[in-house]
Every structure is written in structure tokens, then in C-alpha cells.
Symmetry: C2
Subunit: 154 residues, 2 copies
Amino acid sequence: MKWDTLDEEPCSLSRTIAVVGDRWTLLILRECFLRVRRFEAFQSSLQITRHLLSERLKKLVRFGILRRVPYSEAPKRYEYILTQKGLDLYPIIMAMVHWGDTHMGDERGRPLLHEHKNCGKLFDPVMVCSECGEVLHAKQVHVHAGPGQREAVG
Amino acid sequence: MKWDTLDEEPCSLSRTIAVVGDRWTLLILRECFLRVRRFEAFQSSLQITRHLLSERLKKLVRFGILRRVPYSEAPKRYEYILTQKGLDLYPIIMAMVHWGDTHMGDERGRPLLHEHKNCGKLFDPVMVCSECGEVLHAKQVHVHAGPGQREAVG
DNA sequence: TTTGACAGTTCTATTTTAGAACTATAGCCT
DNA sequence: AGGCTATAGTTCTAAAATAGAACTGTCAAA
């Protein structure tokens, strides 16, 4: 597998893995969703090495997930803010959190609870069909080759 | 970070990353959802090294994501089948596929199209609130410490 | 002038992954 | 019987990624 061109594979999962498919990137993004924005803050809350953090932030900026925004002119300092593309990763992270809550829990109970401001209740994220609104299950989904796959293969 | 105990962290995202947080594991699971079950089939469709495939399958079995089921007695041969815990990873994979479709697409169009058998239509997966059914956005969610976090910290 | 905060970069050691070759069991063909 | 093929791995060495610590540069405040 050539990881350097994974983002051009004719597979949307591969392309997503090219961006978030390593152990640190999703943890960095979790911090972003918890309003962490600065290098030192990421580093101390994650205990990631400074080298790796620097690499990952650059990569996320390159892919348009984060924007590097100056917050101080002298000395020049930057913070990292989620773009819309980055905010759209939210369902991925919530799906992972929910799976962890369901299947990897221990006797201590859930680490975090999520409140939906619109309805005021504690909730779980649920994945539904955009057309009929029903809850999705793997066995009810049929996969077809789309135009991108036919072009890539044929 | 001690990756060997990541599945015991007081964070459901970390615990999920402990299982699926590397580049190959999610690609292997994609094949599982496409009904691939056997060692040779995984290896040839993914071009993963046999060594790594063997490691990853063992890990997925250890975590209860796959079951190793004999399909031939002499010689002893096994295939790998998703458990319910594994099937429940579907929303994660669909969320990643959807994000890739939306943000990493190219001029060739989508590689795969998904049909919901229940309603017969091509669909996108959408994440909603379990309580009110509205579409979820990061900014409408407020996070509280749950019992697992308080026990871990306090 | 010295100290400290912040945002990195650079270096070496360890761990992980890639790539290829090898092992083992058994059916089938001649 | 002897050799070929299929399947499911294991073992080996080289290359790449990550960990961990120290170092750099800028500026403000004491």
C-alpha cells in the first residue's frame, strides 16, 4: 500500500483514512472539538511528543481540516481552528465515542455525557437513512459501484 | 502515550482508537462488511503484508470484533466473521465513507453508492439525536463529565 | 539581565511496518 | 509414489515511523 497516495484511491473510506487514519490525529481532533486551539495545550493534554504534534497539525492544515490563525503579532503565534471540513468530522468522532461507550465501557460508567442543546436532553448519536429516516443497519444496505469506481476500474 | 493500555483510558474515543485506530484495521473491516471472510481474500484484495494481516486479525478476534470459525476440518481452515460488536462498527465506517464522499471526492464521482433495502433508495448516512431526532451538529452539543471521568480523576 | 511562556526543530533510540521467502497440511493428477 | 496447487499462516531483514529528550528563537515581565 502506498500511504502517500491513499487520498486518491477510488474508495471514500481510504481517502478518509488518509487523513484521520492514525492514532494521534483523531485524539488531536477530539481536543479541537473540546475547544483546544494552541500547541502547548494540545501537547500537555495529550502527552504527545512535540515532534509528532507539529507534524500532525501541519498535515491537518494541509488537508484543510484546521486553519492556522495568528492570535499574536509579536511574537508571531498561531492557533488552530476547525474549518467546516473539520467540523464535518464530528459524526465520525461521535460514532466512535458511541461505540466505545457501548462496547468498551467498564464499571466506572461513561467518561462523558452529551447534551443536545436543541432539546435539552442527554442523548446518543444514531445513524439514520437520509431518505426514510430509519435507523441504519449493515445488513439492510446494498452496495453498488458508483461512477468513480467504474472509471477507476474500466 | 502507552498504546498497550489505551483501551482502559477514561475516554470512549481512546478506547475505540485502541481497536480501530490504525490504517489497516478499518480497511480490513471494510472488506468484512463487503462479505470477505478468508485470509487469502483479505490479503489479495488489500495488498497488505501477510504478517500484518495475521497480526490484525488476531487483534480483532481478541477484542471480540471478529470470530474465527472453522470451515474445513482437514486441513484445519478458518474464516473470520463479524460479531455483533463488529457489526456495530458500521456507523463509524459509514460516517467515514460519507465524509470522504463529501470532502475528498474527485471528478470521477463516488466510488460506491448505497441503497437502503427498507426504502429502496440511494441514501447518505445522517447522524441524529436519539432523543429528538434532529440532525446533530458539533456546536449544538454540550459535554458534561460522566461518572467514568469523575471516578478516574477524583 | 535574567527568567519564563510559547511554538516549534533537531537528534538518537526504539518500535512498527514492508517485502520477500519459508513452513505446514492436504487434495488432486499422472 | 512423486510432484503440483491451494490455503493459512510464520520468520527474517530492511526501511519507515514514533518516542523521548534536548535545543532554538522571539518577546514580555520582573
